[in-house]
Subunit: 453 residues, 2 copies
């Protein structure tokens, strides 16, 4: 970094950050990519890891490897802990990092709408560690059901609640339905896995609320085929180790479900707030105000007002869509923004004029439901079923970042499609044997019949 | 289990236990397989997971899935905590389990020869969790080297000590050499990864001490090609966070190496001692005495003296080889023993006479060194190099338990062979950022320049 060149610091190695770094590959600058993980993650397939269909390495690739040919780019494994816009410096776990141009693309995390304590019993799905933890939880529930002492206990182990019917929720619910009905069909002797219940809970009136209305019934039908019970207009009011409490038609109901998965809300990375605090501490520029879920409002070139040297991209940014609402937080938007920001920076470095304002060309949305169905909400076309699933498969394999990922995922899918197997059904991490106990009531806990000798 | 049928309980879902269960598939018995993991593990390829070449799911398969067609067989995820041979009962984390015939095949674990405290800084390689922990340790060492403040600190991060030159040690040393020289070649900007040192430390006079003497120089040559420094007749006398201390030619030397990996010794699973205690508590049968590393001596039909209803198999058993020494603790021996024990039990249930005593037909041993070399020590043939490597590849893919594993491993290998890439280079698990700090001296630790803001 002592070369005296213009220093571009990109925080976040997701779709936005990686695209920006790639667009800067030939720029005459010192580029640093900071991420607290060593890998880029293909988040659209994370639910497959959480349900044992794919391995973590199938949907991720080391950031260093992806940028190894960018000789002007350095990768730093670190977490950013502070932003100082007047000093143009970041505080990180690896010491201070100075920038001339800053690109923030740290994405979003789950939101429990102020009920952070629910996280322990209803984990969300954002990272590889989240996915392997959820996989462990789901598989352990079936193991505990095999060892259950009472039908009530078994029932609560075999009830899965998936909260939130956005694309991730729909994909998780479909995959759990499929796991119980098909993959695990012959694996247990004490119960029939197809009796497991997957409850899909959505506060709004329909599944896939951000998709065209005509697709929601299609998605719901596909989910029901996989045995998923869809409960719309149902609000979660509490989550505990024993189950969830929901409010429906004004009545409150407790549902004993040992496994709950949260796919209901997102909030932006805390780096947005750090940025706003630093900008607002400096009275010379205008006030920077985050939106409801913590996104940073950006100009039409993805920089923030008063700071042309700071770009905010992806889930962390609020960029107005043609219709006035912010662009959605998906991989395609993030990748397009990263590419654009990289281009703006490159042109500046060459002394060229700024390109036209950023405009997202929306090609459409896709969500998959189980082994052979999906819905596609494309620009001029909406369709569901097997064809949509094939289309989904094609697009997703194409979009995987590395050739090796593409080859393995293709083999995994071909093989699981025909065998209905999900080969990555691994329970990893040290087992605490009490996890397998019911614990539904105090009497259960003290039952000496289950104790070790 | 209330069917009144003969109850066979198999403890351990490794090669021995799984083969025994498979051989009993059509037996008129209630079979229970108890394991504390939910997966069977193809241990010969575990070093590939530890070095980022394969994913955990590539070399493992759920035990339930492997036995789903054995309708007489139940799988129990539990840990055995006690054995009572007179009551014919096991204590487990899931309550008592009674048996008519017991098969113990719980394998072995690492031995630090009485220095258990070394385990923290020199982990061994037996389970998937061990492998992902070692992978994390190796990859974090390179990340820390990129962030090192001094050349001394960097050097200690880039020094890897592999203790023990048996097959696992040789395979780990070769893979680390390859990782540094080939895979990571272009990934760092602050140092050249090929300057990393892999020290292979062996107390005895040659690598692969259990192989034919003519193969050791071949293996050593292949290791040196990958940049591995082989130190024979060198004994480890201490292991700390900062490095290892070795004794060589009577002189003691401290080697600053932040990453040490233990492949030097094994000891049998503690279930052997539990069994011996229970047998010896009952004065009617003779004394059962374990050998030096905790193995249980078995009769020529793999049962223990005085207890024809108890079989001990695999690494836990000490069965005399033709030459008088116990059979080695490898997958092929374990699988053959499991198959034999299953046959003995089946014949007994049918009222048939016992088969001929167990005899292991040794086809040979194989060890791989890096991407394209191996040594083969076969019955009538010994060879090394590329041909041995191809043979090793063929045998190992053939022996993987499931079709899906075989297909993915083949694709992974084909792709990494040509790209020299190891795509599963994931650092998983929550990062404690202090792990990346040198901490070589007290001053380093207090250096405020590295602190977070």
């Amino acid at each position: 970094m002592s070369s005296g060149k213009h220093r571009v610091v990109i925080v976040g190695g997701g779709f936005a950050g990686l695209s920006a770094a790639r667009a800067l590959r030939k720029a005459d600058a010192d580029v640093t990519v900071i991420d607290r993980a060593n890998h880029h993650l293909f988040q659209p397939l994370l639910y497959q890891v959480a349900t044992g269909g794919l391995s973590p390495a199938d949907i991720s690739a080391p950031i260093r490897g992806l940028l190894s040919k960018s000789r002007n780019t350095k990768v730093l494994l670190a977490e950013v802990t502070g932003v100082d816009v007047s000093a143009r410096s970041l505080a990180t776990t690896s010491g201070p990092v100075e920038y001339d141009t800053l690109v923030l693309a740290t994405g979003s995390t789950h939101s429990y709408f102020g009920n952070g304590s629910w996280a322990e019993n209803a984990p969300g799905l954002k990272s590889l560690d989240d996915a392997t933890a959820i996989r462990r939880k789901i598989l352990l529930a079936f193991e505990a059901a095999e060892q259950a002492k009472s039908e009530d206990e078994r029932r609560s182990w075999l009830t899965f609640a998936i909260v939130g019917a956005g694309p991730t929720g729909v994909e998780m619910a479909g995959a759990i339905g499929e796991l119980a009905r098909q993959t695990l069909k012959n694996d247990f002797r004490g119960f029939d896995p197809s009796t497991a219940r997957a409850l899909h809970i959505e506060a709004g009136p329909r599944v896939l609320p951000t998709y065209s209305e005509s697709l929601s019934p299609k998605a719901e039908k596909s989910l029901k085929k996989l045995g998923v019970e869809v409960l719309t207009q149902t609000r979660v009011t509490d989550v505990s180790e024993q189950g969830i409490t929901v409010e429906r038609d004004g009545a409150s109901e407790e549902i004993p479900a040992k496994t709950a998965i949260w796919a209901a809300g997102v909030q932006s990375s805390p780096l947005g707030a750090m940025l706003a605090d630093s900008v607002n501490a400096d009275s010379s520029s205008g006030e920077l105000e985050l939106d409801r879920i913590g996104r940073v409002p950006v100009n039409d070139d993805l920089t923030i007002p008063g700071h042309p040297e700071i770009f905010v991209l992806g889930d962390l940014a609020s960029f107005p869509h043609q219709d006035g609402s912010p662009l959605r937080g998906t991989a395609d938007v993030a990748a397009a923004e990263g590419k654009y920001a990289g281009r703006v920076i490159s042109r500046r470095l060459k002394g060229k004029s700024a390109p036209k304002p950023f405009r997202f060309r929306d090609l459409g949305k896709l969500a998959v439901i189980g082994r052979s169905s999906a819905v596609a909400d494309l620009r001029f076309l909406r369709f569901g079923g097997f064809l949509a699933w094939q289309f989904w498969l094609f697009i997703h394999i194409l979009k995987l970042v590395s050739y090796q990922n593409r080859a393995t995922v293709l083999v995994q899918w071909a093989s699981s499609y025909f065998s209905r197997n999900r080969s990555a059904r691994l329970i990893t991490g040290k087992l605490d044997w009490s996890e397998l106990k019911g614990g539904a009531t105090a009497e259960d806990e003290s039952d000496s019949g289950r104790g070790a000798a």
